[in-house]
């Protein structure tokens, strides 16, 4: 079955998703029943490299060590506890149906497929929904302090794109608590000797030996030393590429280097144009700004989103002549409640973001820059009292007040969409292995489960599913065919890659130009935000593709990296990452250009419903909604690197829907 066929995932062959046969609900069970195993005494002979220590990487490293493998885990931060999973606020989905509100594995599966606008792989998503149950059990056993009812049972709340309450949460710090559970499991394994942890160490390249991923080249961020590490398999859990936009809700260090380097070594980059713009972030206030701050989607449970009906009122709010509270009820447009009555303020992220953009494009924005809408808690405060709202969202309200200097208990919050998550990533099959044998990719770094749009509280679920439960079951399918310790760092491939890495560092140090790394990052980010952000057009994307090479040329001619490469040098770290973001931006724009449809986070302005369309006339959807083109684009795009300055080549994995029917995604 599946895994034996993976070797056909070679550049000239078609992509084999290795989805096991059988009815959808039985695939994972059957897979596990027949999957290869490695006996306990042999496991310790195999070594595994895990890059990244967030929910996916940390969970994988800890669990694989428990199973007996020798694990080497790498992170650029000073401690694995600081991976950016820690910043996730709202929650984690689990189809427990503790609320008795009609939830089930099937419903979580279906919501995720529909939420992803029918661009994800059925079998992977169903497996994710199945595993969601075990994840909650595992986290509770580790001591994750989820919110509870007075009787002692676990509490739930609602999230966007679902009509059931299936989200488990730990106030507004769910990611932190899940990551600490995972980090503590990892530290436990470090103490036992199963995991060797390499902090402040960044992977700069992948080493492929005889077509198989067998190691990495890293830079020690304290000493500057360039080192090779070999293993029987490499797992990348390096997160998303949201920082290609410069401003995003990602941590400052989040980067695409590991994934892009893997792409250059043969792994395909899948659906890079599927990026998630989160609707509830604090608006941009000035050009000194280094990052954007998310306000959890959970706020939409009780907050109502609105702008004034008239552009005139909005302009008076912007200039300070009017306050939000001066606008009477009948002059307000609660646009999500108006357009999507059954989901209201809990409409999915892509749809909510686009609606906010439309309102602002019409001149009805309320922040000083014109780019902002209100998120108003006054109704909820009147209904439930300040104390209840404080208990639910206290830390988020405090965070808002600290950043903006405004008190959200008195005045509505102002929010605007910002880049938050990237659904695209390296292509993987059902085993979570890329088309390069031995290279596995987990969590946000792969493309597999969220299609064109991710639903809230699903990223934590996927990261932990991949790390705790999927990779431990699928890894033996690859390793069983490998001789343990077959490749060592004395192989010539390691020398070659090390030499290339050192040469690139020397080149960066030698430019000696006049512009800071940040200035290039900002220029690139503004370009892709403008042309490949919330709205995309053929002309805009072609313009971006013409400009990116100019940015690259200027970068390599005029960037200034001060200091020395021998020792701590944060500008050098940034320069390496930004150089990779520039190359990545090109692939992302190629993908957005090639996908001539609108779906999820990818909105091509040429493809939207109009009043003339049947679906609008019969009331199923509205003019301006995204128009998918299933007949031509129901596939995963997988881009092959063809060399510097050469356009990447598109491969397609057709998406076959056996269990669900493709439909227009309506949240009316």
């Amino acid at each position: 079955m599946a895994s034996e066929d993976s070797s056909s995932n070679i550049p000239d062959g078609s992509l084999n998703s290795a989805v096991p046969p059988g009815p959808l609900p039985d695939k994972w069970t059957n897979y596990k029943a027949k999957a290869k195993l490695i006996n306990p005494s042999n496991k310790r002979k195999y070594s595994v490299i895990v890059v990244g220590s967030g929910l996916a990487g940390g969970a994988a490293a800890a669990t694989l060590s428990e199973l007996g493998y020798q694990v080497n885990c790498f992170c650029y931060q000073d401690s694995p506890r600081r991976a950016h999973s820690i910043a996730a606020q709202g929650g984690i989905n689990g189809a427990k149906n503790y609320q008795n509100d009609g939830d089930s594995v099937w419903r979580l599966f279906y919501d995720t497929i529909k939420g992803g606008d029918f661009r994800s792989r059925e079998a992977n998503v169903h497996r994710l929904a199945e595993i969601s149950l075990q994840i909650i059990d595992q986290c509770v056993a580790q001591g994750v302090p989820f919110a509870r009812e007075y009787g002692g049972a676990l509490a739930n709340r609602s999230f966007g794109g679902a009509q059931v309450s299936r989200t488990f949460y730990a106030r507004g710090q769910t990611g932190q608590q899940l990551l600490l559970g995972c980090y503590q499991a990892l530290e436990k394994e470090i103490a036992k000797g199963g995991v060797t942890m390499h902090t402040r160490t960044e992977m700069l390249d992948l080493v492929v030996v005889d077509g198989h991923a067998k190691g990495i080249v890293v830079r020690d961020l304290v000493t500057g030393e360039i080192r090779s590490h070999a293993a029987d398999t490499v797992i990348l859990a390096t997160g998303g590429y949201g920082n290609v936009f410069f401003l995003s809700t990602n941590a400052m260090g989040c980067n695409v280097t590991a994934a892009l380097r893997a792409n250059k070594r043969g792994a395909f980059m899948a659906n890079p144009c599927f990026t998630q713009i989160h609707p509830t972030c604090i608006p941009v206030s000035g050009d000194y700004q280094s990052k954007l701050t998310l306000m959890s989607e959970s706020l939409r449970n009780d907050g109502r989103i609105w702008v004034p009906k008239s552009a005139d009122d909005a302009s008076k709010i912007r200039s300070g002549q009017l306050k939000a509270t001066d606008i009477p009820e009948e002059a307000r447009d609660y646009f999500l409640e108006r357009k999507y009555p059954s989901f209201g303020n809990l409409a999915p992220r892509d749809i909510s973001s686009r609606s906010a953009k439309e309102a602002c494009d019409e001149g009805r924005g309320v922040a000083k820059t014109g780019l902002g809408v209100f998120l108003d808690f006054s109704d909820a405060i009147n209904r439930l009292g300040v104390e209840t709202i404080k208990a639910r969202y206290g830390n988020l309200f405090q965070m808002y007040e600290k950043i903006t200097g405004e008190d959200p208990y008195e005045l509505p919050m102002k929010i605007y969409p910002a880049v938050h998550y990237t659904m695209g990533g390296l292509w993987v099959d059902y085993n979570l292995m890329s088309n390069v044998p031995g290279l596995h990719v987990l969590g946000e770094a792969n493309f597999s489960d969220h299609g064109a749009n991710r639903l809230g509280a699903s990223a934590l679920m996927q990261g932990l599913a991949d790390g705790y439960f999927v990779i431990p079951a699928t890894l033996p399918n690859y390793l069983a065919g490998q001789k343990p310790g077959g490749v060592k760092t004395d192989a010539p491939e390691f020398r070659q890659v090390e030499a290339e890495v050192k040469e690139r560092i020397a080149k960066l140090m030698a430019v000696g130009g006049t512009r800071s790394v940040d200035s290039f990052h900002r220029e690139l980010g503004m370009l892709v935000w403008d042309k490949c952000g919330m709205g995309r057009t053929k002309e805009g994307l072609e313009e971006a593709l013409a400009k990116i090479p100019q940015i690259r040329e200027e970068f390599w001619k005029n960037v200034r990296v001060p200091g020395s490469a021998d020792g701590t040098n944060m500008e050098l770290e940034k320069a390496w990452r930004v150089a990779d973001f520039i190359d990545f931006a090109e692939i992302m724009c190629h993908d957005a250009l090639a996908r001539e449809e609108s779906c999820g986070g990818h909105f091509r302005e040429e493809y939207q419903f109009t009043a003339e369309d049947e679906e609008v006339k019969n009331g199923y959807t509205n003019p301006g909604e995204a128009m998918r083109r299933d007949d031509e684009f129901c596939y995963v795009s997988a881009w092959e690197f063809k060399g510097p300055g050469v356009p990447p080549v598109l491969h397609k994995e057709p998406l076959v829907y056996e269990a669900v029917e493709l439909s227009v995604r309506s949240y009316k």
Partner: protein, 250 residues
Amino acid sequence: MNLTLKVWRQSSPNATGRIETYEARDIPGEASFLEMLDIVNTGIIEAGGEPIHFDHDCREGICGSCSLAINGVPHSRENGITTCQVHMRKFREGDTIWIEPFRARAFPVIKDLMVDRSAFDRIIAAGGFIDVRTGSAPEANAIAIGKEDADEAFDAATCIGCGACVAACKNASAMLFVGAKAAHLNILPQGHPEKDKRVLAMVRQMDAEGFGNCTNQYECEAVCPKEISADVIAKLNRDYAAAVVREAVE
């Protein structure tokens, strides 16, 4: 606004450090403290110098990376925030700001304002976990945990491991950090089986790392960005004393 910065510069772990003076010009009040340093660093880079190194990542107060003592106080005089959540609107035109690393024997300086806090990881590795193999967990609702206990455990669990408690303490004690993790896990029923082993191992590792003793000054509580109560220290002392007695009896 325009400010004068007095910044600790140290080129490498063994080099001698010194305070250098920088002028920060035209800083917007809406900028964060770290964005102010970004602006200053851009100026330094364009003038051919080496930028001021400091740890930072999420810039939203949760990863625990940022670690500056501002005017002698770890993070900020303002309660409940990290360095990255300090905003420039809190300063006045013409202010002089002293910026130093989190200082402690157990936190050696790496470069400028960056310090090595890996001692914290080793304390967690010694016992700051519940030993539950992936896959062996019982059904999540099988253990009822009262809301009060869950909330109390949560309050302790919010620690971000930044080390401000250590930097604020005249003895460089890590009792608030260790107490917070021990309280989080010891309060929950899942953590009971390993309670004694946990506190003994964590406290012994803490001592081995060179952190000092607690003399009840509560500076740690005052600077903690997550406002963790010093009650966790009292609880740690109780749990530790009980564990020592039981260890001696067995």
